[in-house]
């Protein structure tokens, strides 16, 4: 049986499965990040939120809060988008951990080297997330190169929101907070499969 999915009326079983996907994906991503910066990173239990577009930009501190968004387009047996988003403080913290603060200034704009490091962080995180999703579902997923934007969170979130907008009036967000012991950094993983890919994911897991 092929599951029907309507984002406005997700049943409990579908919700749990999507949450588990977020859990496994973000878990692997956090491990990858931790190895990359050679520092312990803790991850909180992911939250799965079904939000109205109106509420969407509030998750990262308001629509005008400046954030770094790294977006990937997905193809293969699951297509859609995946986005990794963090606030400027978190991005700065990660870049400094990775590069030892040797490039660019402590504050203000990111240098070319730092932007490239951020893209690489995005790449590794998304790769870990997607490979766990791929082995869980046994579906082939290929991801694009990272596309980065640093801007108001509302403006950045408009891109995945528009994709959600094509299939419903709400956005499904799998949000995971992570951080090292003394300096919490907030990161958000957003997975946005197309409606057909939702079906593919759920049916691959026997739903």
């Amino acid at each position: 049986m092929v599951s029907q999915i309507n984002l406005n009326q997700i049943d409990n079983m579908q919700y749990d499965v999507l949450k588990e996907i977020g859990n496994i994906g973000a878990g692997n991503a956090t491990t990858a990040l931790s190895q990359m910066i050679n520092s312990k990173i803790d991850m909180k239990v992911p939250k799965v939120d079904l939000l109205e577009f109106k509420e969407l930009s509030d998750i990262v501190g308001g629509a005008e809060n400046i954030v770094v968004g790294i977006l990937f387009t997905l193809e293969g047996q699951i297509d859609g988008m995946m986005m990794f988003m963090m606030d400027m403080g978190a991005a700065r913290h990660l870049v400094n951990l990775l590069l030892g603060g040797a490039y660019g200034s402590e504050t203000g704009k990111f240098s070319e080297m730092e932007r490239s490091a951020l893209n690489e962080i995005g790449n590794i995180i998304a790769g870990a997330y997607l490979s766990s999703l791929s082995s869980l579902t046994n579906l082939l997923i290929t991801s694009s190169i990272p596309y980065m934007a640093i801007d108001m969170s509302g403006a950045i979130l408009s891109v995945p929101a528009i994709e959600f907008g094509k299939i419903g009036d709400k956005a499904l967000l799998i949000e995971t907070e992570f951080g090292d012991t003394d300096n919490a950094v907030n990161g958000y993983f957003i997975l946005i499969p197309t409606i057909d890919s939702y079906r593919a994911i759920l049916s691959s897991l026997g739903l």
């Binding site: 596309y147 108001m152 907008g165 299939i167």
Partner: protein, 161 residues
């Protein structure tokens, strides 16, 4: 006391001077302001997609350029705006990420702007000013008292159109 009325994503609202109306962080979406300069009544809709007829799930009218403008006009007339007096200003429709040229998502901002202009043209509403395209987000505030649209972006000077 004047108030700043907020419009969210896929949302719309109306306002009468001295109040003002705003939407925060427009990306590829388009913020459409319609106003009646004589009665100082304005409305704003934050649309995400160009065309409601291309989408199966189209209950939220404020999500689309075509149905959003229709609904906005209806609500403005209900609070006393005159249909023939209405003029428009628009902003947004940016391309936030530098996708490749063959990517369907790439042109969504442009398509939103095109659909908005087409709809305004069909309705005979004159477009007084626009600040659209490019690759950055915009917060907009509209003041029906003066008819001015203030645009704020990250790392850029404020501008008024």
């Amino acid at each position: 006391m004047s108030e700043m009325i907020k419009v969210g994503m896929a949302d719309l609202n109306v306002c009468i001077s001295p109040n003002a109306i705003t939407t925060l962080g427009l990306g590829s979406c388009v913020g459409i302001v319609l106003y009646d300069p004589i009665r100082k009544i304005a409305g704003m809709v934050h649309v995400m997609l160009p065309d409601s007829t291309k989408i199966i799930n189209n209950e939220n009218k404020a999500k689309f350029a075509d149905t959003g403008i229709d609904l906005l006009i209806k609500q403005m007339l209900a609070i006393g705006a005159e249909r023939r007096s209405l003029v428009a200003k628009i902003a947004g429709g940016a391309q936030m990420f530098a996708f490749g040229a063959n990517n369907d998502m790439m042109r969504i901002g442009d398509r939103n702007v095109e659909a908005t202009k087409l709809k305004l043209q069909q309705l005979g509403i004159s477009l007084k000013a626009e600040d659209t395209g490019a690759n950055y987000g915009r917060t907009i505030e509209f003041y029906p008292e003066t008819g001015m649209l203030l645009i704020k972006s990250v790392g850029k000077e404020k501008k008024t159109i």
